[in-house]
């Protein structure tokens, strides 16, 4: 393609020589992916045309500046300077193309964008050849031709730019609309889920109490078989009732969206790893008096640590409690421990990770995040379990 286009152009150009070929083909070295072949070769050809046109002008200006006579050098110096200016320009185009490709790979992977560029370049190329042919046939001056070229390119660029802008803003708007709709539907879904979950919990509470009081009557009775059967039933239902309820309990009490999202997310990860999780939130808790990003980072680190620490344990447990006081909310993150932690103070020091326990990582970060906040304090404890408490006083 590049060969063909260059050859075509050389029919019209007096200055062309073997170097033009080499430069143009050298550009192919930069093109490893066939997808960009058309783009690059068209760009190269057009750039060559433009640069050789302006290169001639530039070379003439240089000669004029140094007061060199054209005839004195019988044209060969002119040729050398001209070609080197053109070559430099071409190389600059090729290298910047590579750089842009590396910097914005996404735009290059976009089929629409590629098509737009290819068509724009093709239009410019065809227009140029049509104009030159016309100019040659009707004897119009080359200066006029140059101005025509510039105007044409400018119009095309403005057109292309407007088209791309409109296209992208439209897609963006559609996308935003779809996301808002999805979020809305998700909110409705979560609300429904929470409501049915609450109903389920109410039922479980009643059911358990009925079983328990039924048990009192049966144990007063003398019927041994009935007792045995009842104990079996209670055992089985007790297991299924306590086992699989942990992950959505009390989530509706947390109104702070970022905290809710992170607990939901980490709990589902923990459950997939076979860890028992538990959320305690006796009272509804609204927006907390702490920057949501800081809170999300801290609780993320603490829950990740907890998951890491519990992963290897059999019967490992993670629990989060949101405790509300009149002027304060406390978040308690806890997990069961395999072995007791001797030196709590060392856990908080950066770089002091106690692998295996898995608590050192990030605790220093949590400390760094919380230390500057006036209304936030923390506690760390390791008795039967590890516990990190964040106390957020309402301002």
């Amino acid at each position: 393609m590049a060969l063909f286009l260059t050859g075509l152009y050389m029919l019209y150009d007096d200055y062309s020589d073997i170097e033009t070929f080499i430069v143009n083909l050298g550009l192919l070295w930069f093109v490893r992916n066939k997808k960009y072949f058309i783009v690059t070769s068209l760009t190269a050809t057009l750039a060559y045309i433009l640069f050789s046109f302006f290169g001639n002008l530039a070379t003439e200006t240089i000669f004029h500046m140094f007061n060199w006579g054209l005839d004195q050098w019988s044209g060969w110096l002119f040729e050398v300077v001209g070609e080197s200016v053109v070559t430099a320009c071409m190389l600059a185009v090729a290298i910047s193309f590579r750089l842009i490709h590396k910097r914005h790979p996404q735009q290059f992977a976009d089929e629409v964008m590629l098509n737009v560029i290819v068509s724009a370049l093709a239009v410019v190329a065809i227009a140029f050849f049509a104009i030159t042919t016309a100019a040659d046939n009707y004897n119009i001056g080359s200066g006029f031709l140059g101005i025509l070229m510039i105007i044409l390119v400018a119009i095309l660029m403005i057109n292309g730019g407007t088209f791309i802008y409109l296209f992208y803003s439209y897609t963006m708007r559609v996308q935003a609309q779809r996301q808002a709709l999805e979020r809305h539907q998700y909110d409705i879904y979560v609300k429904n889920l929470e409501k049915s979950y609450q109903n389920l919990r109410k039922f479980r509470h009643d059911y358990q109490n009925i079983l328990l009081s039924l048990g009192e009557y049966i144990h007063e009775d003398d019927n041994q078989e009935l007792k045995q059967y009842f104990d079996q039933v209670v055992n089985r239902s007790q297991q299924s009732l306590t086992r699989d309820f942990g992950h959505f309990d009390n989530l509706e009490q947390i109104k702070d969206k970022s905290l809710k999202a992170i607990i939901q997310n980490k709990f589902s990860i923990a459950r997939q790893a076979g860890i028992q999780v538990r959320l305690e939130a006796n009272d509804a808790v609204g927006q907390l008096a702490i920057d949501p990003v800081t809170l999300a980072r801290c609780s993320g680190i603490l829950l990740d640590n907890a998951i890491d620490a519990v992963k290897g344990q059999s019967g490992g447990q993670i629990a989060v409690a949101v405790v509300k006081y009149p002027k304060m909310v406390e978040l308690i993150f806890s997990n069961s421990l395999r072995a007791p932690i001797e030196r709590l103070d060392e856990l908080m020091v950066a770089g002091n990770t106690s692998k295996g326990q898995g608590h050192g990582q990030g605790l220093a970060t949590v400390r760094e995040l919380l230390d500057p906040l006036d209304n936030v304090t923390y506690e760390i404890a390791a008795r039967q379990r590890f516990e990190f408490v964040i106390s957020i006083e309402s301002e």
């Binding site: 305690e280 409690a321 709590l344 408490v389």
Partner: protein
Amino acid sequence: MLKTFVVEDDPEQLATLKQIITNHIMINDFDMGLTLATSRAQDILDYLQTNPAVEGLYFLDIEYTGQALNGLELATKIRELDVNAKIVFVSTHSEMAFLTFERRIEPLDFVVKDLGQDTVKAKVEKDIRVAYERYTKQGVVSKAMFSYSKGGQLFNLPLDQVLFIETGTSRNKLVLHLTERIVQYNGKISDETVAHPELFRVHKSFLVNPQKLVRVDKQNQLGYFENGESVDIAIRKMHDLLALIKKSQLSVELS
């Protein structure tokens, strides 16, 4: 006499609990009595308002259907009226908020109903014995307490858990080192020195519980605790500290 209270809204379960408690008191001949067993949470509060200084043992269910109070609120009010109350929660596993109750109420124990009647009976009986033991020893060793406040909330703990207080990395924050816990809270070390005369200021940033020191390194001016944590001791305070150790006959190793 150690007074015992039960709140349970299910009549059968209430009857069972009553029976377990009265039987166990009778068998062991404890100086205790089942003062009130009720299905209404408000009854307990009414009793406590008319009878101050009870220091009782309370067995509480957590959810009372159709009543204004729940177990947590009831326990909070009981703590306000009866500071030394020994509270045991008796409920199903799904209703227990272990972390929350421990933090807010510091209960004596949790009894999980769904573990079966025999387990419940065994746990209730054990809690009665533990509570009675504490009750009888109360006169002998009156426990010194330490407290700190956070967000308008007072947290109490036995003084013998306190190792030392240290100034924090940021202004107005103190770090309280306990045997199994590190607590950051808002305060000034000079105020704490005045507020807790039982602690000794060994350095401008350290306030120490001298009872818990196990070793003092005179050469390097360091004080060590059982878990290996250490504090700096100022030169001009060293003399006073050594004098205090000698006077109170503390078992501190010197080197």
